[in-house]
């Protein structure tokens, strides 16, 4: 539940679908655009969208990737056949942008719009605590940071209306006088669209201005997904793609499915499968703190995963979750042994003994693998029924065959991290 990026395709479609409602006096952006994924039948696509074969095209990946031009990921002014060839070469292939590598799976195709390069504007709307800010520059189509001094900012306070703001007067002088009214009208309409549709970020760079029309060429957008219940019906059938570079392993996918089916929260990100330090932590905040602490104590190369369980998961859910982690951590032996941190803060209302039941069941099942991998376990937890939960863990320690150190609220939350790591520093 937060701000989440949407595909450029969906952002533009949304604009096209509601254009006349918000910009009745400006020529309609027709929303000629298609999304191509690995399953798309290109010939069928061309049949349904005859313009693909009639017009010159632009093709680019649509996976929340920035700076596509710089990374040579835009095909301009091409024919349909050229576009097909270009796509074939890239579809399902890995590409590295900065430090992030991921597979290209989604592309958009839209008509190539010949226009006056001097009429490429920049417009963006962002939100802040006090209201929403509109950014406008007559120098679009370039990295906006490099021309930031040409950008005008119009802040619209949260409890006021854009109707009370004289936008035309605030536009930069590069916009010709006779066009100012039209640009102002566009900005006003776009702003209302932004507000009504639950956007949290919308950047069009550039937007091409032709004689009487505005055409968004490159769009980046984020929606506030908590606004789903207010404007979800206007969004249509959109998806929130995972950020570029977030490729899920089989185990991460398994936990994600578990999470989606459950009312509780179960998260797993594997950082380094050969890492020696694994965490199994209750609570969103606590899990971050534990991961931080491993990191801050200088063991970042040893940290294997980030993850958390919270929101009162069932015994079976914690069992499945624990099994997934135990399976991962016992695949590859390390002569120095491994560490499992079963951590958590002081729960408000989660029954600690109950959630530990599933964890204990999984630990018992992995007894031999834990011994073989020389795993040492550190437990810290507080909250309802924690005494019983900790006692069950201590009892388990007597039969599991690997050392388990158990602590309650009397120990600082992250003290088991330093205990585990320092005890291990010489090894």
């Amino acid at each position: 539940m937060a701000q989440r990026g949407i595909r450029e395709f969906h952002g533009k479609k949304m604009m096209a679908n509601y254009w006349t409602e918000y910009l009745p006096n400006l020529a309609k952006y027709d929303g000629k655009i298609v999304l191509v994924d690995p399953k798309t039948d290109m010939n069928e696509l061309a049949k349904q969208n005859p313009w693909l074969k009639q017009e010159k095209l632009v093709v680019k990946p649509d996976q929340l990737i920035g700076k596509r031009g710089k990374n040579n990921l835009i095909l301009l002014n091409s024919t349909f056949d050229e576009a097909k060839k270009w796509l074939n070469k890239r579809m399902n292939k890995d590409v590295t942008i900065g430090k992030v590598t991921d597979k290209l799976t989604h592309f958009l195709i839209e008509p190539f719009i010949p226009h006056d390069k001097n009429k490429e504007y920049y417009v963006a709307i962002t939100s802040n605590r006090e209201g929403d800010a509109i950014y406008f520059s007559a120098h679009g189509g370039v990295d906006i940071e490099s021309v930031w001094d040409t950008v005008v900012t119009i802040q619209v306070p949260i409890l006021s209306s854009i109707n009370n703001i004289k936008i035309a007067e605030k536009l930069p002088k590069e916009v010709p006088e006779e066009e100012k009214a039209m640009v102002a009208e566009f900005i006003k309409g776009l702003f209302k669209f932004y507000v009504d549709f639950g956007y949290a970020y919308l950047e069009i760079n550039p937007i091409a201005m032709t004689k009487e029309a505005f055409i968004p060429l490159d769009t980046v957008a984020r929606l506030d997904d908590t606004a789903q219940f207010v404007c979800g019906n206007k969004w249509g059938n959109i998806e929130f793609p995972a950020p570029f570079g977030r490729r899920l392993t089989k185990e991460e996918k398994f936990v994600k499915d578990l999470d989606e089916k459950s009312g509780a929260s179960l998260k797993l990100t594997v950082i380094n499968p050969s890492g020696r330090v694994w965490t199994l932590v209750a609570g969103g905040g606590a899990s971050v703190v534990y991961t931080d602490t491993v990191f801050d104590l200088g063991f970042k190369d040893e940290l294997a995963n980030y993850g958390e369980y919270s929101g009162n998961p069932s015994t079976d859910e914690t069992y499945q979750y624990t099994k997934t982690i135990l399976d991962l951590m016992t695949r590859e032996k390390n002569p120095k042994g491994k560490i499992l941190i079963i951590g958590g803060g002081i729960a408000n209302f989660t029954d600690v003994a109950k959630t530990f039941t599933g964890i204990i069941k999984a630990l018992k099942e992995y007894k031999q693998q834990l011994i073989d991998n020389k795993v040492r376990i550190y437990v810290r937890r507080g909250g309802p029924n924690y005494q019983e939960g900790l006692k069950n863990m201590k009892d388990l320690g007597k039969i599991l065959g690997v050392p388990i150190e158990v602590f309650g609220p009397e120990a600082h939350m992250t003290s088991i991290v330093s205990m585990a790591l320092k005890g291990n520093a010489g090894a």
Binding site: D102, K267, G284, D292, L297, H412, T414
Partner: protein
């Protein structure tokens, strides 16, 4: 109250949402704190009004429930806090409503998932009106020895373990509600305890921010030092940095931002909180920790040392004489809930009910130990279910078949019999289905339908006492009792009752043994010799065959007698005939029949004369 204090020992709140557990937890905290009055004056629930019963220490008190915030506030103008438990869908309008009411100064919003635009609007309205919003997406806040919002602080034993039932000197503010409990623990172990702890919530735009609360603590002479727990994402921590730099914050401030690990995730990770994502370098936890440290805050190297830094800072203040540690005291003991005591095996109480036939507490109802799905999948049928629920016995196919045969046979015997007649008359008087059915059922007794039990009883008795059939007939006559189950108004030896024929045929073909039926037919021979309509009738046959069935199933003689005594056999007639009665009732209603009135000419009026009754 000064404007930098949001709560004190007299603060009272209205709770929006019928959150019974949170309400009790607040009251338990109040009691442990030795507050004079409960911190809740009223509950608002749009779907109900009335009263809520809850505990104040060992005693019960009632809190009024209203359907509107306005009404609650008008009746209880002393309440200046509203704890808003409304869902993410309705939290916005409810909070707006509360902000419009003059007497309400602070609204705590618990729900997670409120659109950012809504929260920003609420925050702006609150600012305009000089009011406070805590949250959304938070557990709330707690003020040591004074007041707590909703579920903050967890269970009462945890609150006492963190010494929150009395004030300390350390004020803290955190984003995370989940870590608030942990902070209570850390602060209480490393200082004289918590003065006030606030969790502003994990959203990107919380209703009140770090700086709002830190500046309150700065002004409040009772807060000796301040702790800040920030996190990756957003820039609100920089307000603190600026306030430190410009000298607006002069009290000792220990600060830490969590999420330093975020730099490991190259694709950008969204942690649990909506606001917990760094979109620029400035928003990383590292950058914030560095800036805070440079501005003069006490910043540990990791969360691990947070407690140590708090202790050092607090001890230094004590040493310098700037703060006098607040005393400890024993909390006023809150009695344990019976349910908790039972769960923990501390008490035992005798139950007031026993049930030996069903258990509905698991995934599915169990009929005499058999899960419902098995009942359905294995085709127990109505007969099998009666076997389980009435006799706690898994009946063989021939047994369930017999029961179902009986139910079909007794289902109806036309509109003229007295039971059906009564049901029809009631239905025509406009009574509902259940009343009309009951009216028919109440007719069942010794003269109508009730002969099944009687027949079973008497035939079994004489059979078991090894009396000859003739002896039975004679003994009954001597006792002046008509033999139940013998005799029919129209049927006779030459005109046998088809229903009895069906039952006898079924028993002969399916029952392992029919000792009682054989005995009854021998008795019938004796009675029909006297008059040919003194045949074994349908009631008698059902009753006797039932005894045969139980006998074949291995029930002891005493057990069978006990079953007869409970009225179970009559139950079979009641169950079967209810089908017919309901048929008649539905029929009458379909026909829209009017109120029945018996004609005068069908009544003999034979009242005594006035003189005769003197």
């Amino acid at each position: 109250m000064s404007n930098y204090k949001l709560f004190d020992k007299n603060t009272q709140a209205i709770i929006f949402g019928y959150q019974q557990r949170a309400i009790q937890r607040m009251l338990d905290f109040d009691y442990a704190c030795e507050r004079k009055n409960p911190s809740i004056v009223a509950i608002v629930d749009p779907t109900r009004d009335g009263y809520h019963k809850c505990f104040w220490g060992p005693e019960e008190i009632i809190l009024p429930i209203y359907t509107s915030i306005k009404e609650a506030a008008e009746k209880h103008p002393q309440a200046d806090v509203m704890v808003n438990f409304a869902s993410f869908r309705s939290a916005y309008p409810r909070t707006r409503e509360a902000l419009e009411i003059d007497s309400i100064r602070t609204v705590a919003i618990i729900a997670e998932g409120i659109p950012e635009r809504y929260t920003r609007e609420l925050a702006a309205i609150a600012r305009q009106k000089g009011k406070w919003i805590i949250g959304p997406a938070t557990v709330g806040a707690i003020k040591g020895g004074a007041f707590k919002i909703g579920n903050t602080g967890g269970m009462i034993d945890n609150i006492i373990a963190s010494r929150l039932h009395r004030p300390g000197s350390v004020a803290f503010v955190s984003k995370s509600g989940g870590l608030l409990n942990e902070l209570n623990n850390i602060v209480s172990r490393n200082s004289d305890g918590v003065y006030e702890g606030i969790a502003i919530g994990g959203d990107l735009y919380p209703g009140s921010t770090f700086i709002d609360h830190v500046m309150r603590f700065q002004q409040d002479p009772d807060a000796a030092m301040i702790v800040l727990l920030g996190e990756v994402g957003g820039r609100d921590e920089y307000d603190i940095v600026n306030a430190l730099k410009t000298g607006k914050i002069t009290k000792s401030l220990v600060a830490w931002c969590i999420g330093t690990c975020s730099k490991m995730f190259s694709a950008g990770v969204q942690f649990g909180h909506a606001g917990a994502k760094a979109r620029t370098d400035l928003e990383t936890a590292d950058a914030k920790n560095k800036a805070l440290k440079e501005a003069g805050a006490v910043v540990p190297d990791s969360f691990d040392d947070l407690g140590k830094k708090i202790k050092e800072t607090f001890d230094k203040l004590v040493k310098e004489g700037k703060v006098k540690p607040k005393p400890d005291r024993e909390p006023k003991k809150t009695p344990m809930d019976l349910s908790t005591a039972i769960t923990e095996g501390m008490v035992r109480i005798p139950t007031h009910f026993v049930s030996t036939i069903t258990d509905e507490r698991g995934d599915q109802p169990m009929y005499a130990g058999v899960p419902l799905t098995e009942v359905v999948e294995n085709g127990y049928g109505i007969g099998g279910v009666i076997g389980l629920l009435w006799f706690k016995k898994e009946l063989p196919k021939w047994g369930t078949g017999f029961i179902e045969l009986v139910l079909q046979i007794v289902a109806d015997h036309g509109p003229a019999v007295s039971g059906a007649h009564n049901a029809i008359i009631s239905a025509r008087a406009g009574k509902d289905l259940i009343s009309s059915l009951v009216s028919g059922l109440l007719t069942i007794g010794p003269r109508f339908g009730g002969a099944i039990d009687g027949a079973a009883y008497w035939f079994k008795k004489f059979h078991d006492e090894a009396k000859e059939p003739k002896e039975m007939v004679d003994d009954m006559k001597a006792m002046d009792i008509l033999i139940p189950g013998i005799g029919h108004r129209v049927k006779s030896v030459i005109n046998p009752d088809k229903r009895v024929e069906l039952l006898k045929k079924y028993a002969r073909e399916n029952f392992p043994k029919t000792d009682y039926l054989d005995y009854a037919l021998a008795v019938e021979k004796v009675t029909t010799a006297k008059r040919d309509n003194l045949i074994l009738n349908v009631d008698g046959c059902v009753g006797i065959l039932f005894v045969d069935m139980l006998n074949s199933l291995g029930f002891s003689k005493q057990e069978i007698s006990d079953i007869i005594e409970t009225g179970a056999l009559n139950g079979l007639f009641v169950l079967g005939r209810s089908i017919g009665f309901m048929g008649h009732i539905l029929d009458q209603k379909r026909l829209k029949e009017n109120l029945y009135r018996h004609p005068w000419n069908d009544i003999l009026y034979a009242s005594p004369k006035k003189e005769e009754i003197k």
